[in-house]
Structure formats: structure tokens, C-alpha cells
């Protein structure tokens, strides 16, 4: 797990591991978790190790999680980027570890509300996740009633979704500026100096200190000089990076790389 994704599950997570693997073992027809793991060790079943890792990843997410972060993007960060001297080209945003897509669509909805994301090329958004099942759902932009009930304001539901049977689908026009890529943060691709804003929230909490340093080094490398990094409420990027500096807008803490770095 750690080798594949950087995510470390300590002994305190043994119940979670057991319960998630039990579900997978049952789904795949194994009598017990140890039978599943024995099969993984033999390496005889293609893709089995990947399914185990996928099952163990925490995919918890919902629309506009910590709404104040999206307010900070809209009211503080975007205006600052747009006012940067000599700036041209699309605003580039990366949703790192996007899980099933609620975060990246929340970003897109917020941008659309700010008058962006309306035509091709005014923004470029990339969303990545290691989990194949999560990134597939994110790409489809298809959500259950329960999922759209979590955090999504009704006006957004009306404006950005359409209903198909029991599923709620993100409008194609909102999706067209988003590129979904299956990639892990630990060893996947890095686009140096590319992104104006990176969302990497509730990811580092699963990493060791060494893993956090490696993660934030890679994230910082992907950011433009003076770029913005948004992390989860309990995460502190500057503690694990010498190139990210803390700033604050209202009660939202975010991190920046040096301007002209």
C-alpha cells in the first residue's frame, strides 16, 4: 500500500483494513481475508493487488467540503491571480487526489459562478487519483441522490446537473475543461511550474513525515511561482516543506511558493 501510493495505514487503522478487505474478499468469492491476501502474494491473479489497494484507500469526499475554502478561491485567490502583472493564458488548477470528483466539480461550479469555465480554454483543470474506481466515477460525473444531498446547494443542482433515472449527472459543458488522469501523488507525473492553484486536501494526513515531505516537494514543483496550495484543515504544508509559505485569508490557511522562485 505504502509502496504504491505513499499512504500508510498504522496499527490504529487495523479495524478499517479488516472491514474493507472483508467486503472485497466476499465480493471476489474468497472465504476469508487471509485467503485473499495469500492469493495477492502469489501474484497469480492479474490486477488483484491493485484492487486491494483501491479498497483500502479512503475515498470520503463531498461537494463543497469546507465551503470557506471555495469562498477563498472565489473571493481572494482568483482575483489575485487575475490581477497578477503580465499574466496571460488560462488559469490552471489541479485537484490532487480528487477521489470520486466532488471536489473538482465544486471547483468548476465555483469558477462558473465567477464567470469562468464557460468557454473552452479560459481555465484548465486537472483531476488525478490513484483509485481506478474513484477516477472512473469522477470522469462520468454521475452521483447518487445521497451524494448530491451532501454539501451541494440546490441552485447548483439545478444549474449544473441533469437527472437520469436515479442518477444525477454533471452537465457536459461544466466537464469539458476538466481532464481526469489516473495517477498517484507519490511517483506519478509532475508538470513543473504548471498550476496556479493546487487542491491537495486531506491527503497528507495518511502519509508519514518523510512521505509528507516528498508529497509537498512534488506538489510545490508543479506550482507556478507564487502559486497557491490549499490543504485540509488539519494539515500544515509549511511544516514539511521549505518552499511553501503560509498565508491566510479570513479563517482559511493556504500556502504559496515564492514569487519569482
Amino acid at each position: 500500500m505504502a509502496a504504491a501510493t505513499g499512504v500508510e495505514l498504522g496499527a490504529e487503522k487495523s479495524y478499517v483494513v479488516q472491514s474493507r478487505l472483508s467486503i472485497l474478499a466476499r465480493t471476489l468469492g474468497f472465504g476469508h481475508v487471509r485467503d485473499l491476501m495469500s492469493e495477492v502474494v502469489t501474484g497469480k491473479t492479474p490486477g488483484l493487488q491493485e484492487r486491494v489497494v483501491d479498497a483500502l484507500l479512503n475515498k470520503e469526499t463531498f461537494f463543497f467540503r469546507h465551503p470557506e475554502t471555495f469562498e477563498a478561491l472565489r473571493r481572494h485567490i482568483l482575483p489575485q491571480i487575475q490581477a497578477s502583472p503580465g499574466r496571460s493564458g488560462p488559469i490552471r488548477i489541479w485537484s490532487a487526489a480528487c477521489s470520486t470528483g466532488q471536489e473538482v466539480y465544486s471547483i468548476a461550479m465555483m469558477l462558473a459562478d465567477a464567470g469562468l469555465c464557460q468557454r473552452d480554454g479560459d481555465v484548465e483543470i486537472m483531476a488525478t487519483d490513484y483509485s481506478l474506481s474513484a477516477i472512473e466515477q469522477a470522469m462520468q460525473g454521475s452521483y447518487s441522490q445521497l451524494e448530491v444531498s451532501r454539501g451541494l446547494p440546490a441552485p447548483c443542482l439545478l444549474r449544473f446537473f441533469r437527472q437520469e433515472g436515479h442518477r444525477w449527472l454533471v452537465a457536459p459543458w461544466l466537464r469539458r475543461n476538466i481532464r481526469f488522469v489516473r495517477s498517484d501523488l507519490f511517483s506519478g507525473m509532475v508538470l513543473p511550474g504548471f498550476f496556479d492553484v493546487v487542491f491537495c486536501r486531506n491527503v497528507a494526513i495518511y502519509f508519514s513525515d518523510a512521505g509528507k515531505e516528498r508529497l509537498y516537494a512534488r506538489v510545490a514543483r508543479s506550482m507556478t511561482p507564487g502559486g497557491y496550495l490549499l490543504v485540509g484543515g488539519t494539515e500544515c504544508a509549511s511544516r514539511h516543506s521549505s518552499t511553501l509559505f503560509q498565508e491566510q485569508w479570513k479563517n482559511v490557511v493556504y500556502y504559496r511558493t515564492k514569487v519569482g522562485q
Partner: protein
Amino acid sequence: MKALTVDDSKLIRKLVADCLVALGFEVGEASNGEEALLYLLQQGTPDLIVLDWNMPHMGGLEFLTRMRKLDRFKGIKVIMLTARNEMSAVQMAMNAGADEYLMKPFSPEFLESKIRMVGLLSE
């Protein structure tokens, strides 16, 4: 702050009331639109109404439409809480003056998030 829960199900009223009380609201109850109108006229104006759609005597949409016609009730925040889960129903409720829409089944966490969306709870 004051809130009113309007639902013909006693169980749902209790679930909603428990959630609202935990958030610091003083909560009144009504079991249909007629009772809710009476409540407003007799007990005063709450800050929030959590409103079911399908109820006997007077449903939630009719209540909402009537209430919004009266100037003194225009500022009340209304969250529609209903089993109706079609896009057209969400649109109708918002057009009639609902501030938010939550589909049943729901959890207290979802309701709290909707209350924050209508601006009644600060962080």
C-alpha cells in the same frame, strides 16, 4: 433563533426538532400547511422553517406560496425536506420561494449543512 418543523410524520418532526435543538434553535411543530399558517399568525415569525411537501389539508408547496405572498414572512428561511426527488420538484420548490432543498432520507449532518447554506449558522 426560532424554527418551525412542518411534517405530517411525527417521527420526522422529532428527528428534525432534535437536530435543530442541538444546533441551538427553539423549535415549534406543525403537522400540515394549515397548522403552520396558524402557527405563524399566532406564535410569530421563526427564522427557519423545515417544510415537508406532501401533507394532508395543505401541502408544503401551497403553504410556501401563500406564506411568501405576505410581506412579513418573506425573510423566513425555508428548507424543503421531502421524499420528492425529481429535478422538476426541486425547481418548483425554489420557484415558490424555498431557500434550500433536501431529499429524504436525510441525516442531521445534511440538514445542518443546508442550514449553513441559508446563512443561519456561522462557523
